[in-house]
Symmetry: C2
Subunit: 463 residues, 2 copies
């Protein structure tokens, strides 16, 4: 490995890289934000672009799978009787670009600086997805066939919780039947350390709104007598953690499994410099739970995070009001063994119990969330992906967790009964979900090689 | 009282009320927001409109007094040798109109519904100010002179803390020299209970900003290890009060004087139905300090209020970020005996001491704030105003405090050595500073009568 057939594909991909990047940039220009209904048209445009590309490169049965949300794009090709069928996964939707003023260049005008492609969605997940499709294109262009049976599932609502994906999986179970899912989403832990993803945290979203009066009130005429919704919200959110940054919600940790020996061995193998890790993003130490290694916290511990707060006057200068309304968006990351439903129930009960009596509380629980996921340590497809990474990067990959979530992993396990292995060339420092998100051009080159090689390797994974 | 001269003025004002209201509406259409630099032109336009009116009705020495902020409009007329000189005060600036979507009609398009004028600034302070100027106009139109010596000072930055007013007072001490200030700003406690204002709380503004990382971070990739600025802010703000809603800031209450016997008698005389008071604004009980009567809290107790919080993602849907920045606007209301500087120092020290070590904190302290103010119980001008209110409304007014602040009151006491009495026809339920602010048409009629009568009454206040 690699043999003659894959070497020709790699050469073709290398030669065509400028065109592949041009096409990626056209894809990045589409503001396919799935969390905000205002972007419905760009979402459709992104799905159409992918369907067109899949058709053009020679995939069969290209179609949109729609269950009332943003559609998934499907395609397939079965060229190798008796070989496994690989379900390639990626997502074409992106996070909102706000805060816009913090972008050095516009989020939907991809710009290359110092070998980095800056754009919303660059690393999460448009470039990684584009690498996967380009590998298929390379094989088709050079050999007129793929070296393994392939199905493609490109989701449009990963960033908004994959709400209709379970329905899509259920409705198309036979169409999607495969032996393993290979995800282009995921991420390398560091650019200089070969790694393979073996676990993901789950996720759960909540939104809490407090009301203390019918309308905002003059802080002089009512201050001291009437409740302040912003203050009530601050007090309520402050009850979610204790002074040691541990979640205080009763029942929150129920079912949580401690990381296993192999997981702890991986954490040891990474030998993270925690101080440097924090310094890299301008953060100070002390925000985690004392005594818990940072990587254990990131990969296996559940969290309750505030993603945003809005209350009262936020414009220039001052305004002496008592806000009547205040709201916060929350997400929990879930560790292994936790169920989204149970965690949601515990957090909702905590918020209701700790809300000051002088405030009215409403809590939204949009979507079902997703459980944590781990690929079995002895999965043959994981072994195959690991061999390819070792081959491309010159040493065996460290098995690393991901603190983020691919809801699809637990969903396909449930709906299709298959495991998910990940081969993403995103790196965790590339500002996913934040201003000035980027993707490395060098990762694009490496990713094309790895994806060209992984397809024939997966064909023989179980031999 | 009233004698022939004032009866003729009242008749003239009644006949001219439609025109006076038309002119008021033109004034209300000017978005003279002083807290936001974007409104600099409307501020100038409002000042110019007032200068034009003062000139037109026959006042002398009309001019703008400018010390680098928004100018004050000045005018004077000395028709009564030997009589006191009254410094009439009002302010032409208004609070920001946000949140715009909560207004039933546009904030700068005055609209009459059910006998109420809806507009930003309607009750605070454009209609009350307009009443005062109309009384001057009536006396001039009917008698060609005023019944007392009058100076007029109309401020343009009351809503933004009166930052340059001390400099204006200092630079024009001789020009502004008077025997008493009569403020058109202030407010009646209830529309059905004759009252006269005798005290004001002070005010102090702060803005606190926290930072926990160089930029927003993916809540999956960093959650559990890196600090969350929104959560840090919530925890910090939650430390400002204890569970009994009492301010916990060390040194905050230093110097605070308890209300005197006359104040407590006033509170008793009002006989406030606290439950009904709260229900009227849709608020629940329990947000105040237990055991402290609501009116004592409103008029004499200091507060720390959050006027607004901004952090992270606030748009539609969700965004799984860890906010790197979070900020809150705070105002304190001050009780008698507190000094703004000492309170500011105590709150700043508290915020710095209680900020989590993993967050960086910055605190802005814009302006000097203003102390609480009380007019002496035996002030002869207060007695004169009280006689007029009794005369107009048929029974002696209750002496009431104001929970809000007129920074000018403590400033003129300091700069000009005079007391401030208030004669405002605003009512405390008219949504000052909030959406759908209004002013009663009936108050306009009553106010014209009271202001027509108060001018000759003040002329003989010290006889």
């Amino acid at each position: 490995m690699p043999g003659e057939p894959v070497a020709a594909v790699e050469a073709w991909l290398k030669a065509d890289t400028p065109r592949l990047l041009d096409e990626l940039f056209a894809f990045l220009r589409i503001p396919s934000v799935s969390t905000d209904p205002a972007y419905a048209n760009p979402i459709r445009a992104a799905a159409a672009l992918l369907a067109e590309r899949l058709t053009r490169i020679g995939m069969n049965d290209v179609r949109l799978l729609d269950s009332g949300g943003h559609p998934s794009v499907f395609a397939q090709r079965a060229d190798v009787p008796g070989a496994p069928t690989i379900l390639i996964y990626g997502h074409y939707d992106v996070q909102p670009p706000e805060p816009l003023e913090q972008w050095q260049t516009p989020p939907f005008e991809p710009t290359v600086r110092d070998g980095l492609i800056f754009a919303r969605g660059a690393c999460d997940d448009k470039a990684p997805l584009w690498i996967a499709l380009s590998a298929l294109e390379g094989w088709m262009a050079v050999h007129g066939r793929l070296p393994v049976n392939v199905k493609v599932l490109l989701e449009g609502e990963e960033e908004s919780g994959s709400h209709t994906l379970p329905a899509i999986l259920k409705a198309h179970r036979a169409l999607l039947a495969s032996d393993v899912m290979l995800s282009a989403d995921g991420g390398r832990f560091r650019v200089d350390m070969p790694s393979v993803n073996t676990s993901l945290r789950g996720v759960l979203s909540l939104e809490v709104r407090l009301r203390t009066a019918a309308h905002d009130l003059h802080s002089g005429r009512y201050g001291g007598a009437v409740g302040n919704a912003a203050m009530a919200l601050a007090r309520l959110l402050a009850t979610l953690h204790d002074e040691r940054n541990r979640v205080t919600v009763a029942g929150f940790f129920d079912g949580l499994q401690r990381p296993g020996n192999a997981d702890m061995a991986s954490i040891h193998a990474v030998a993270l410099d925690e101080t440097a890790f924090l310094a890299e993003v301008g953060a100070r130490p002390g925000a985690g739970e004392p005594g818990i290694p940072l990587l254990e916290a990131l990969w296996f511990r559940p969290t309750v995070e505030v993603n945003g707060i809005t209350a009262g006057y936020q414009g220039a200068g001052g305004k002496t009001v008592i806000p009547a309304e205040a709201s916060a968006k929350l997400t929990c990351r879930l560790g292994p063994g936790q169920t989204p439903k149970r965690v949601a129930d515990s957090v909702v009960a905590h918020l209701r119990a700790h809300c000051p009596g002088w405030a009215q509380i409403e809590i939204d629980n949009p979507g079902d969330g997703a459980s944590a996921y781990a690929v079995p340590q002895d999965d043959p497809f994981l072994a195959a992906v690991s061999r390819v990474i070792a081959d491309v990067h010159g040493k065996p990959p460290v098995r690393v967790g991901i603190g983020g979530t691919l809801p699809v992993a637990s969903m396909v396990k449930h709906a299709l009964g298959i495991e998910t292995v990940m081969l993403s060339y995103a790196v965790s420092d590339e500002r996913a979900h934040a201003p000035n998100e980027f993707f490395r051009l060098s990762s694009f080159d490496d990713g094309l090689v790895a994806w060209a090689r992984v397809l024939p390797e997966l064909a023989v994974a179980r031999l």
